[in-house]
Symmetry: C2
Subunit: 200 residues, 2 copies
DNA sequence: GTCTATAGACTGATAGAC
DNA sequence: GTCTATCAGTCTATAGAC
């Protein structure tokens, strides 16, 4: 406990290196030797900090899920009309993306693989809780007559969730497009669509 | 050459089994022993049909990319206004999804890993060609004043591409929602948005 | 906190019998 | 077309020196 993050700086640094590799190359395809080499140490030394490779991805994912859940709840509690809440949820996703981009990618890419292990059963629980939050907002908008009734709320949620998660693959924090800029484009597409109403 | 698909039935069957495993658990995480076991044979027997594990995924991906490219070109050549072309591209994606769902998932999930091998350099070429087709349609719509000018065409393309690719994770060909139903929902969200114009 | 050295399991792939 | 048997390499993880 030597830094505000609640862990030693070295530990957090190693986790960040591992997370990026897991996200870029896949969890199974990333070896502990690669993680160690990226950190400038040998693989055996990693086990002074972590119990196993699984424990590393576990810690990365839990930290992300906790913050994402808090951000989603905050967005809903901020209130407003359904559209404002929906925009808030999208913005909350991109706010968390800035800090947890690798974790978002890992969750998106590896759920199918990790869900097979009992250790990671909490991933599905978290996904269901996230879906509940989004679907509630989408249903509210529908019943108030501001969201299209022909759209399936669960499909709609997955649609936007997967779009955002996939953003991580090309998003560059030092690039031309900030997370906030991307968020505003996504809100535009998602809420209002690509086609200008009445143009055809 | 004993079947209309251009390969022996057995070969196609083995490829289908492998593709599903690659899509569900990841290419690196899937072992040749698992593929063989799913097919009811032993791992050594696989090498009578295929040169390597890489050759298997290679064949799966090439078959998909060829059909997808033809489908996209057909959609654009069908003509019509920009919105019709855009809808055609989305429908073409879902038409191909029915036959190549596992290949779509593999391409989406493993590009980051496979792109590292020279053997799979063609994946990036194909992605660029697909993007060119979509962006041309999106730009045309913009310049004709039917698509929103504030939207970045490349971002817009990736947005819908990744949404569709992610669909494979929950799409069930024997489920309540057909690929066509999903396509129409996606067209609605993507073209017109979730929010009903003038409702707020 | 890192290194050396290695155990023990698993991996993709091969050779030859049937 | 499948099986048996196995090789050579790689993987995660451990034990103990420094």
């Amino acid at each position: 406990m030597t830094s505000p993050e609640g862990g030693s700086g070295r530990r957090a640094q190693l986790l960040s290196i591992a997370a990026e590799l897991f996200a870029r190359r896949g969890f199974a395809a990333t070896t502990v030797r690669e993680i160690a080499e990226s950190a400038g140490i040998l693989s055996g030394s990693l086990y002074h900090h972590f119990e196993s490779k699984e424990a590393m991805v576990d810690e990365v994912l839990r930290a992300y899920l906790d913050e994402q859940l808090a951000a989603f709840r905050g967005a809903v509690e901020a209130g407003g009309d359904p559209r404002s809440k929906l925009e808030g949820l999208i913005r909350a996703s991109f706010t968390v993306l800035r800090k947890h981009r690798w974790a978002m990618a890992i969750l998106h890419n590896e759920t199918g693989y990790l869900a097979g292990f009992e250790r990671f059963a909490y991933l599905e629980q978290a996904s269901r809780e996230f879906e509940r939050i989004w679907v509630r907002v989408l249903r509210e908008g529908r019943s108030r007559g501001v969201f299209r009734t022909e759209l399936n709320p669960r499909l709609t949620h997955r649609f936007i969730r997967d779009s955002i998660a996939s953003t991580v693959r090309w998003y560059n924090p030092r690039g031309r497009m900030s997370a906030q800029t991307i968020a505003e484009q996504y809100i535009r597409i998602f809420c209002d669509g690509v086609v200008i109403p009445g143009s055809t």
